[in-house]
Amino acid sequence: MALTPEGAGRAGADTAGNEGNVDAGWLRVHPASPFVRGWVALAALLFFFGRDSFERLLQGDPVFDERLAGRAPWLLLGGGTLLLLTVLGYVLSWYFTRYQVAGGYVRVNTGFLFKQQRQARLDRVQAIDVIQPLLARIFGLAELRFEVADAGESAVRLAYLRADEARQLRATILARASGAADGTPSPEPGQRETAAEEAPEQVVLTVPPPRLVGSLLLSEQSVAIVAGGIASVLLSAVTENRNFAVFLIPAAIGLVASYWSSFNKGYNFTAAVSPDGIRLRYGLLDTQAQTVPPGRIQALKVSQPPLWRMFGWYRVQVNVAGYGLAASAGEGSARTTLLPVGSLADVLEILSLVLPDPGTQDPLGVFTAGITGLADAAGTPSSGDGQDTDGGFVTSPRRARFLAPLGWRRNGFTATETALLLRSGRWWRSFVVVPHQRTQSMALQQGPLARRFRVADLVLHTTAGPVAPRLIQAGLDEGRALLDAQSARARAARKRQKSEHWMEPAAKPAAPPADDPQEGPHHG
């Protein structure tokens, strides 16, 4: 409704009438924020103009080179002007950056030459992050990032606010988005201002630093490094060429940097649960606190590199619509990681947070089978669930064992009433959970080789992210049945999906049993 600036103004005015001027006006971010954001430019400028003079001062020479002495005032003037312009730009950008949270929207206006007005509906929030880079942390500032579902292309960013202000605002937005705060929703947009208390949270698990270090040392990356190191040493020994060392130095620097960033991101990882959703907190120098509201997770993957099996460690990654692809360096991958390293118990804990209603009698058995299970050597009984010790997983038929000699007993699926579970990989174990109501579209695919063995792959399409759900080499009949059954399940799940406000008083959750029975037989 209030899509235009006039509308925005009107909403603000309404509130002013009702509530006083608390949120009538637009608020500005902290005045120091452009400097915190653009300190690199300032530092570079100072360095560029100041270094020479400073060195001369140290050496006891005149501040300016004799040859330049005549031009010194001009140089000084030029540098000063540039500095002044930069600072002026910062001040202007601060002055013209304003935000408002009202009427079910968060709005941010930026820019003075090219104005940008960005607004997002509060109930469309996919995730909300409070980010504190080191410098911001020193000044007690924080950035608030509000993600909507657009594959990570843009987010509503507020940089920077005072840290407690940012947390307060996050609580306000979440309270508003969850529907917890509005007993009388839209008519009084100012209502929430008073009620916005941070939802209480309960720490569920933490990752101790030694485990983090261990997980980094045993990661795939380390294996590749050791292999590469051995190869280059051998190569240099064989060819009697010492030049390899020269190439190793930049490689080593890069590696240290990459390990450092993983460590920096994963340090002190804490997962907590609150009515607002899952809270993740992590970081050594730059800290970040993410809140993912319930039902925002599109797909989840539990994976285990081979070396982690010694300690029984797992990693959990998720697709969240707002986060997008983790392609953008370390930051993205940290944001989509729900658990950098954890034991099976931790993983099950996380699963219970993501899927509060697992939709099965024996969630523990099913999930454990999904994470570590293996079908018997005889293969899954083709139909009619007898006594299965494998959590109900239907694996590739025995005839596919020539296609996937190791994986065929592992590659499989099962469906609970709320989610489709896919597992794969004998060495690189992975286990994917896709809630039924999050399925976008599906495709059954088959190449010429797979056709000879009468198997097919089922690909589930989900929003961009690290998880790409794919059922590998299901039997043709099972695959076809699953395609049909899954469309039906997804449809039913969508119908009973609650509103976007996850805390709204009881949106009759008693409805589901009515359309459940028809899905039972489809179980694959």
Partner: protein, 170 residues
């Protein structure tokens, strides 16, 4: 066919226009013309004496091999076009394609974010268009090429109407 298709049973597939073969042929001709002329470049250079390295037989063999492959693909085009099909079911749209590498795609109407119709330079004189569905997932890639323009327009309206009726969040 010797082998069994992966489609769910009991579906009446609507096929795309046979004229779409022309579009594919045009693309095939253009692509292979460029590829073959690029691949023959070493041969020309060797024959004119600018290069000495690739022996003449190699210079001939590479474009010839490519050409052979291209001819094989040319033979497949009509069958590939015939294999493209779509079916509107009550709650979702099915799209299938491929002979060697088959794919059957299910897009629920409620998941469609928007529908695109594109017309290319070869398609326009033939009165064809390409319809593309977008969901929240970038990997969906639901495309129906070679639709007659009127059918494309009908399908678009139909899909939009059904999508609106069944619209769900993410």
């Amino acid at each position: 066919m010797r082998t069994e298709a992966i489609d769910p049973p009991g579906i009446d597939w609507l096929r795309v226009s046979p004229k779409y073969v022309t579009v594919r042929l045009a693309g095939w001709a253009l692509g292979n013309l460029i590829a073959v002329s690029l691949l023959s470049l070493p041969l020309v250079l060797v024959l004119t004496g600018v290069w000495t390295w690739p022996p003449v037989w190699l210079g001939v063999a590479i474009p010839a091999a490519w050409l052979l492959l291209a001819l094989w693909r040319l033979l497949l085009i009509p069958r590939q076009v015939r294999s493209i099909g779509y079916a509107e079911r009550e709650d979702d749209l099915l799209i299938r394609r491929g002979i060697f590498f088959q794919r059957t795609l299910v897009v629920p109407y409620g998941r469609m974010q928007y529908v695109d119709i594109a017309v290319g330079p070869v398609e326009r004189p033939l009165g064809l268009c390409t319809l593309k569905l977008h969901t929240a997932s970038a990997t969906t890639n639901a495309e129906i090429p070679g639709l007659p323009a009127s059918e494309g327009a009908r399908l678009r309206e139909q899909l939009s109407a059904r999508g609106e009726a069944r619209l769900a969040g993410l």
